[in-house]
C-alpha cells in the first residue's frame, strides 16, 4: 500500500512537472554535433546556468549533415560542419549571419586561426571555430612491432604501400569513409597537389587506393575509435582527437593496448569544425547563448581536455592539460604546421567525379 501511495505521488509530480514545463514554454536549443565531441557535464552546466534545455544529437560525416541541411527544416539551431563544407554551404544560403553583439566571448578566440578559416567564411560572419585537428594515422604499437620492425608509422607509406600494408591486413585496417580526406592524402603520398581537381590526378589516386583496397577491413568514420581501443584493428586512417580518445579509452580499460597517433611526414590535412546557425533555426537566440557559453576559456579547456582536440580559444590555453597542449600531434609546432594542407570546397563537377570514384573504390568495382 505504501508503495502504491508513493507511486501515485511520483506519477502525479511527474505529470505536474510536464504541465509546468508546458505553461512556462520551455526554452530549448537543438544541437547537431559530431559524435564523441563534447565533454561530460558541459551541457548540463549550460542547462543549469541558463534554464535552456539542450537537445543534443550526433552525426559522423559531413556528407550526412550536408544532406540534412539541403533537405531543410532540420529543426537544429547549431550545426558543426567542417570549414571545407561550410564554404559552399554559406554560398548556398544555408546559414544566418551571427549577431556578434551577443557573442562577447569572441575576443577569446585565436586571431591566427580565425584568419585561417576566412577562406571558407570571409570576415567570420557566419561561424566560429569549435575545434580543429588533423587527419593522420592511428596504430596499435604492439601489433605493428610484432609484424614489422621499424615500420614507417610516421609516413603515408604505411597505408599506401601495398607491400607494407599487406603485413597488417590480418590485424585489421580501417579507412575513413570520406573521399575528401582520403583522396588528398593519396595525392600527398603521390607527390601531387592535394587540392588538385585534375581528372588524371584523381585517377592516379583512385588506382593507388584500389591497390590497397583488398587489404582494408572497413571504411568508417567513428567505429574505428572503439575498434582501435579494443584491439579489433591495428591501423586506422582517422581524425587526430578520435585516435587519441581511443588511446585514452585503452588506457582506462587497462587492456594492455597502446595506441599512437602520427601526422605523416609527407604532410596531412588540417581541418576546422565550425559552429554555425542554420537559416531556418527555430531558436537562434538560444544558439547564440550556447556559442557564447562554449567560448568561455574554462569550458573550451574542459572540452579539449576531454576530447583531445585542439580548440581555438587562446584564453583557454593556460587551462589545458600539459599533456595535451605540449602534444605535437594535437598542437603541432611550426615546422609540422607548414606541411599541413587545409581542404577547400570542390567544384560541383569535380565533386561528382569524386563521389563516383569513391563508390567504385569502396565497392571494389
Amino acid at each position: 500500500m505504501k508503495n502504491n501511495i508513493s507511486f501515485s505521488i511520483s506519477a502525479f509530480t511527474f505529470l505536474a512537472s510536464f504541465n509546468l514545463a508546458a505553461i512556462g514554454a520551455e526554452q530549448v536549443v537543438n544541437i547537431y554535433n559530431w559524435s564523441d565531441y563534447i565533454a561530460e557535464g558541459v551541457i548540463e552546466k549550460f542547462e543549469q546556468q541558463t534554464g535552456i534545455k539542450v537537445n543534443y544529437d550526433v552525426f559522423d560525416s559531413n556528407e550526412i549533415l550536408e544532406a540534412k541541411l539541403l533537405t531543410g527544416g532540420t529543426g537544429y539551431d547549431i550545426v558543426v560542419p567542417s570549414a571545407s563544407f561550410l564554404e559552399r554551404q554559406i554560398k548556398a544560403g544555408l546559414f544566418q549571419k551571427l549577431d556578434k553583439s551577443k557573442l562577447p566571448n569572441l575576443k577569446n578566440l585565436d586571431e591566427t586561426i580565425m584568419q585561417a578559416v576566412q577562406m571558407a567564411d570571409p570576415n567570420n560572419e557566419y561561424s566560429i571555430v569549435y575545434m580543429w585537428g588533423t587527419t593522420g594515422i592511428g596504430y596499435n604499437v604492439k601489433m605493428i612491432e610484432e609484424r614489422m620492425e621499424n615500420a614507417p608509422t610516421n609516413s603515408w607509406e604505411l597505408i599506401f604501400n601495398p607491400e607494407i600494408l599487406a603485413k597488417f591486413a590480418d590485424c585489421g585496417v580501417s579507412l575513413l569513409d570520406a573521399p575528401d580526406e582520403l583522396i588528398p592524402a593519396a595525392l600527398i603520398y603521390l607527390g601531387l597537389n592535394p587540392l588538385s581537381e585534375d581528372e588524371a590526378d584523381l585517377q592516379a589516386a583512385e588506382q593507388l587506393i584500389k591497390n590497397i583496397r583488398p587489404l582494408i577491413r572497413s571504411f568508417n568514420n567513428s567505429q574505428y575509435i572503439s575498434d582501435l581501443a579494443n584491439g579489433d584493428i591495428c591501423i586506422a586512417h582517422g581524425y587526430s582527437g578520435d585516435i587519441l580518445q581511443a588511446r585514452d579509452r585503452a588506457d582506462e580499460a587497462e587492456n594492455d593496448i597502446e595506441i599512437n597517433y602520427s601526422i605523416p611526414k609527407e604532410g596531412a590535412i588540417i581541418w576546422f569544425d565550425m559552429m554555425a546557425i542554420p537559416v531556418d533555426a527555430p531558436n537562434p537566440q538560444n544558439a547564440l547563448k550556447f556559442m557564447n557559453y562554449i567560448m568561455q576559456p574554462e569550458i573550451a579547456a574542459e572540452i579539449t581536455n576531454y576530447v583531445w582536440y585542439a580548440n581555438a580559444n587562446q584564453a583557454s590555453y593556460d587551462l589545458i592539460d600539459e599533456e595535451i597542449i605540449n602534444d605535437k600531434s594535437i598542437y603541432p609546432p611550426k615546422e609540422i604546421k607548414a606541411k599541413l594542407v587545409a581542404t577547400r570546397s570542390y567544384s560541383l563537377e569535380f565533386d561528382r567525379l569524386l563521389t563516383r570514384a569513391w563508390t567504385r573504390i569502396k565497392t571494389g568495382q
Binding site: 560525416s61 531543410g72 579494443n230 563521389t355
Partner: protein
C-alpha cells in the same frame, strides 16, 4: 411497400458500408504510396544542383506566360551506363534469392514441426518464433556484430577450445550478410508456412500411408505440393524486402557487399544526388513489382483451392 422501402434503405446503407470499407484503404494507398511515388518520379526526372532542394525545378513559369517543362532522362541513362548499378541490382537479386532459399531450408522443417506439434505446446512454439520481434531489429543485428567479430564470442570460444589458432574473419563478409538476412527474416517464412501446414488434412496422409506410400514419397507427392502456396507466400515475404535491405549489409556486410539499398542510401546522403537516387528507387520498384504480381497470382490460387 413499406417493407420494400426498408429493404432498399438497408441495401443502400450496406452498399455505402461496402464502399467505405473499400475506399478508405484505397484513399490511404493513394495518399501514402502513389503520391510519394509520383514525387520521387518527378525528382528522378530533374537535374542535380547545389542548393535547397538539391535539384532543379521541373516546371518553370516565365514572365511571358510560357510554361516550360524540363524532363531530364540523364539519371536513368546513368543507371545503365555505369556498370555499378546493374551489378548492384543483380547482386541484390542473387543475395535475396539465396537468402530466401536458406530461410526456406531452415524455416520449412520448423514450420512443419510446429504445425504437427501437440496443440498445448504449439502456441508456445509460435510465441517463440515471434518473440524476437519484441526487441528492436537494429539491436538484434548489432548483437550479431558482437558474436561474429574477430575478438567476438564465437571466435573466442573457438580459440579457447583450441580449434583455431587465429580468429576467422566473419564480420564484414558475405557470410555475415547471409546470416543476418536469414536470421532476421526467418519468422516471415515460418508463419505463412505454418498457417498453411496446420490446415493440412491428416486424412490424406493416412490414406496415402494405407496405400503404401513411403515417407519420402508422402512428402514429395502430397505435403510439398499442398504447401506450395505457403512456400510462395513465405518466399515472397522474405525475397521482396531482402532485395532492398540496407541495414544488414551496412552493419554486417563488407564494403564490397554490393546491394542496391545501400547504393541508394549512398547516392541520397553521401553523394547528395537526389535525382539519381530517385531514379534508382523508381527502377527498383519496377523490378520488385514483378515478384509481387507473382505473389498475387499465387494467393488467388490459394483462395481457389480453399474454395
Amino acid at each position: 411497400m413499406r417493407n420494400f422501402i426498408r429493404q432498399r434503405e438497408r441495401a443502400i446503407s450496406l452498399k455505402l458500408g461496402k464502399k467505405l470499407v473499400i475506399y478508405i484503404p484505397l484513399f490511404w494507398l493513394l495518399l501514402f504510396f502513389l503520391v510519394p511515388f509520383l514525387i520521387v518520379t518527378k525528382i528522378s526526372l530533374s537535374q542535380i544542383t547545389y542548393g535547397r532542394p538539391p535539384y532543379l525545378p521541373m516546371f518553370e513559369w516565365s514572365k511571358d506566360n510560357l510554361l516550360t517543362i524540363k524532363l531530364y532522362f540523364g539519371n536513368f541513362f546513368l543507371l545503365f551506363s555505369d556498370s555499378l548499378y546493374i551489378n548492384a541490382y543483380l547482386n541484390s537479386l542473387k543475395i535475396a534469392a539465396l537468402s530466401t532459399f536458406f530461410t526456406l531450408l531452415i524455416g520449412y522443417p520448423m514450420a512443419y514441426f510446429i504445425a504437427r506439434a501437440d496443440e498445448k505446446i504449439r502456441n508456445i512454439l509460435l510465441l517463440l518464433v515471434i518473440l524476437p520481434f519484441w526487441s528492436s531489429f537494429l539491436l538484434r543485428v548489432y548483437a550479431w556484430i558482437g558474436l561474429l567479430k574477430n575478438n567476438g564470442i564465437i571466435n573466442n570460444i573457438l580459440l579457447n577450445m583450441g580449434i583455431i589458432d587465429s580468429p576467422i574473419k566473419m564480420l564484414n563478409t558475405d557470410f555475415a550478410l547471409y546470416i543476418g538476412i536469414v536470421y532476421s527474416y526467418l519468422p516471415f517464412m515460418i508463419l505463412p508456412l505454418y498457417a498453411n501446414l496446420v490446415r493440412l488434412d491428416e486424412k490424406l496422409l493416412e490414406a496415402a500411408r494405407d496405400l503404401g506410400a513411403k515417407p519420402l514419397a508422402l512428402f514429395f507427392t502430397i505435403i510439398l505440393p499442398l504447401s506450395m502456396p505457403g512456400i510462395i507466400a513465405g518466399s515472397m515475404l522474405v525475397f521482396i524486402p531482402a532485395i532492398g535491405e540496407y541495414i544488414i549489409p551496412s552493419l554486417l556486410g563488407g564494403s564490397d557487399s554490393l546491394m542496391i539499398g545501400r547504393i541508394l542510401w549512398d547516392e541520397f546522403s553521401a553523394n547528395r544526388d537526389w535525382p539519381v537516387a530517385s531514379a534508382l528507387a523508381v527502377a527498383m520498384l519496377t523490378i520488385i513489382i514483378l515478384p509481387l504480381i507473382l505473389f498475387k497470382n499465387a494467393q488467388k490460387k490459394e483462395v481457389a483451392i480453399d474454395e
